[in-house]
């Protein structure tokens, strides 16, 4: 495609840049309102217990305390289900997760909350709330939770299949059993020349955003509830909060503050309804900020998992059959990521015969939440290592093996219709040509690994509106909370459509009162879907401006053409800026609007090449060199596409090498701090090189596919494959932390 864009593909400074580098940007914790008070939550010390009694009397009497709430202050939510745009939610479960009802199901489960004049008094008051528990046995490993004699978390959870049918007898910790099957795998495996089967385990990990959850609520005397919060979606936060409080959405306004990271973890509500309940009692704005320990213990890590993968191929490399068995944590309440896990495990391959089984399992850990391509990374850690082993046994280059079996347009996939035009093959070829892949890797204990990754990338709804200012600039209001710079990539698409500079669009993220309904920032959808809305806003503005030009030239609007920022008719022409200056006298102010709901998925494929060195004395793995490849469709702002690729990769590296929830014998997390939950620092990494591939998405005017999530999927497998090639030892458990690698190396030396 010939480069014909003026703005798209350039690298302007982001519009919110000055505020962000000077500390002026207002994040949730920076908000200060007159009369504001502070809330604190009381949390369960037990992994599993019945709540016998909650005594709030001493707390209420403490000087400086204004309100105390428990689950008794929430309405009855039994049998209520809400559709939150990304899937359905059982409101009784969401409500009980926000404030425990009858039982606590994980250490850190919220039980009560108090509002006081400052956070220190609130902490003191929280200590005075007496909760009587009857501790119960706890279970924190997914396979243990599936056993018939496992402690049962719920007396109303039954095993269901994909379509609401029963898939088991009686109550269970297994809330879902999925099965996808095509062809005849046993016959196909029997015909294979090589079959590889392995089992893998992964631990719970957290999204790790540096900003803790924070919400401020004011339930005013007029009955209106305003919430300022760190959220990935003001509209979903509004809907969840309204549903949990059983009040109409028209009574709730959610103002999204600048947000310090989300990655999926700031989609569910935790503090918003609690702050609202406290504010209803004391009629003051109530601000609640989580501590770091609360973030780890009281929000939504991604599932830990057990995955078994079997792949069979002919000696020429053609894969004939695949089988996967996946069990994923749901956390304390049903509804985890097993569906995407099942559908992603073989998503890079054309498999004529497959059988994929998946289990969603409740256990005494926090309710899982989405974490960047939720469920895909655990599946890829397994499948991509089996593919690597297959390549070795067949004597075929790992990228060649993938090319031979690569999914492409028309390939059917597990549970899904055939792929449209996708960029996996282009991505594989780019990697194979790249100097990194051909660079020698010399030295003992050094090795190279590759792995591919996939995420669906969704569409969903976005709204935007924009006003043309007399100086030819355009003020844009859109509804996608900005966690990575998307207000700029969206503004650039509007600028491109109008033929003006990116700097001449002023983007803002609106609250639920000032912009049309917009689904979450997540699912790799904003540059795609909100960008599409901005493009349509641009078309709407062009139509109206053409009418203004028609008035100026005394002709019909359809005689006016537009190209590259200039309106023309019959030899006459006028630029966007000049016409904007006259718009008011030629028919009035120009305001464009659009609301879109494009169909997903846009299908993002990526690949990692990782070079590592393993220290045999300590088991420590050092990343020597790393290159990330990804098909972005079209990179609107290449710096921010590179940033997504690098950031997701480093999260994946942390997941691979160090991060895990460490549980003791009583089911309690023991490392709920950044000291012991060890995320990568600048010193742990080299530069992360990026290669953006562009196979345009036909369903978007500029070819955009989502980019945000795919980068996290491949790294744990790529690093594991590299460790194997460095040491001869295949690590089948995450994290591949030094003690584990050292132990595995020591075993082979005996």
């Amino acid at each position: 495609m010939a480069e014909r864009f003026k703005v798209i593909g350039t690298r302007p400074v982001r519009h919110d840049g000055a505020d962000k580098v000077t500390g002026r940007a207002i994040y949730g914790g920076d908000l200060q309102l007159a009369g504001m008070v502070h809330g604190k939550i009381v949390r369960s010390p037990h992994a599993h217990a019945r709540i016998k009694r909650i005594d709030i009397s001493a707390a209420e009497k403490l000087s400086g305390v204004l309100a105390v709430v428990t689950a008794a202050d929430l309405p009855d939510l039994r049998d209520k289900v809400a559709d939150l745009g990304e899937g359905s939610v059982n409101l009784a479960h969401l409500g009980a997760n926000v404030l425990a009802h009858q039982k606590v199901l994980y250490k850190g489960h919220a039980v009560a909350a108090v509002a006081a004049v400052n956070s220190h008094v609130a902490e003191e008051a929280a200590k005075l709330i007496r909760v009587e528990y009857e501790p119960l046995p706890a279970v924190t490993w997914v396979l243990d939770a599936m056993k018939p004699d496992a402690p049962l978390l719920h007396d109303d959870v039954y095993t269901e299949d994909m379509a609401g049918g029963r898939a088991g007898e009686g109550t269970s910790n297994v809330s879902k059993y999925l099965l996808f099957e095509e062809g005849d795998i046993e016959k196909a495996f029997a015909s294979a020349d090589v079959v590889v089967e392995r089992e893998f385990k992964t631990a719970s990990v957290h999204q790790g955003y540096i900003e803790p959850h924070v919400s401020t609520a004011l339930w005013n005397h007029d009955g209106h509830l305003t919430i300022w919060t760190a959220t990935q979606g003001a509209f979903t936060a509004r809907q969840q909060t309204a549903e949990l409080l059983q009040i109409p959405v028209s009574q709730v306004t959610v103002v999204p503050c600048e947000i310090g990271g989300g990655f999926g973890g700031k989609i569910p509500v935790y503090l918003e309804p609690v702050a609202a309940l406290l504010s209803r009692k004391c009629r003051r704005p109530v601000k609640m900020v989580m501590t770091r320990a609360e973030v780890f213990e009281g929000t939504g890590p991604t599932p830990g998992s057990f995955v078994r993968v079997r792949l069979g191929a002919k000696k020429d490399g053609r894969m004939v059959a695949g089988q996967a068995w996946l069990a994923y944590d749901a956390g304390a309440y049903p509804g985890g990521m097993i569906g995407p896990g099942c559908m992603c495990v073989f998503s890079c391959y054309d498999l004529p015969n497959y059988k994929v089984e998946g289990y969603d399992v409740v256990l005494n850990k926090p309710k899982t939440a989405a974490y960047r391509a939720p469920g895909a990374t655990q599946a890829a850690f397994a499948a991509e290592q089996v593919v690597d082993e297959l390549a070795e046994r067949l004597g075929i280059d790992p990228i060649d093996l993938r090319l031979k079996n690569a999914a492409r347009e028309g390939t059917k996939r597990v549970g899904w219709p055939a792929y449209p035009k996708i960029g996996l093959i282009e991505t594989l070829e780019a990697a194979q040509r790249h100097p990194h892949y051909r660079a020698p890797i010399a030295g003992p204990n050094r090795g190279r690994g590759v792995a591919t990754g996939f995420w669906f990338n969704i569409g969903l709804k976005s709204s935007a509106s924009a006003s043309v200012n007399p100086d030819g600039t355009v003020t844009l209001i859109e509804g996608s909370t900005d966690i990575g710079g998307t207000r700029t990539s969206v503004a650039m698409q509007l600028a491109e459509t109008l033929g003006i500079a990116a700097e001449d669009v002023r983007p803002q993220v609106g609250d639920t009162d000032s912009v049309g309904y917009t689904d979450v920032t997540g699912g790799s959808r904003v540059t795609f879907a909100t960008g599409l809305a901005a493009y349509q806003v641009g078309l709407d503005i062009r139509r109206q401006m053409a009418e203004r030009a028609a008035t100026l030239w005394d002709c019909k609007a359809d005689e006016v053409t537009f190209d590259g920022g200039t309106f023309r008719r019959n030899g006459e022409s006028i630029g966007f800026k000049q016409l904007a200056a006259k718009a008011n006298e030629l028919g009035g102010p120009v305001v464009g609007r659009a609301s879109v709901d494009p169909a997903g998925p846009t299908n993002g494929f990526g690949l990692s090449i990782a070079d590592v060195e393993v220290d045999p004395d300590t088991g420590k793995t050092t990343i020597l060199r790393y290159t990330v490849f990804q098909d972005a469709g079209k990179a609107i702002h290449p710096s921010y596409v590179e940033g997504q690729m690098q950031g997701g990769t480093v999260q994946g590296i942390g997941w691979a090498l160090n991060e895990e929830y460490f549980y003791d014998g009583e089911g309690r997390m023991r490392n709920a701090s950044y000291l012991d939950y060890r995320m990568p620092t600048a010193l742990d990494l080299p530069m992360i090189d990026t290669v953006i591939i562009e196979v345009p998405n036909p369903a978007h005017p500029f070819g955009v596919r989502g980019v945000g999530e795919t980068p996290i999927v491949a790294p744990p497998a790529a690093v594991a494959n590299a460790i194997y090639h460095a040491t001869g030892v295949r690590m089948c458990e995450l994290p591949m932390s030094p003690p584990k690698v050292w132990a595995a190396l020591s075993k082979t030396q005996r």
């Binding site: 990304e86 899937g87 359905s88 379509a163 609401g164 969704i458 699912g523 998925p601």
Partner: protein
Amino acid sequence: MAIVHIPTQLRSLTGGAEHVESPGGNLKQVIAALDSAYPGMAERLLRDGSLSPSLAVSIDGAFTNRGMLAKVGPQSEIHFLPAIGGG
């Protein structure tokens, strides 16, 4: 007649058939016709008359946003899938 791909876990209702043809100009009609031919199908796919919240539906490769009123063409391909989101 649209071609409906039957998820593995619903094939017990269709006697094992993996794809079936079904008449109908929109999803509601297609599901009603499916239910006539294979009793019990509607109960599994729907909740309170709408598509079950744990399911998504793709018509000709794209997720639809029109729910039960989504148009179905004479040769459309319909898939029912677990709902997915993102993070």
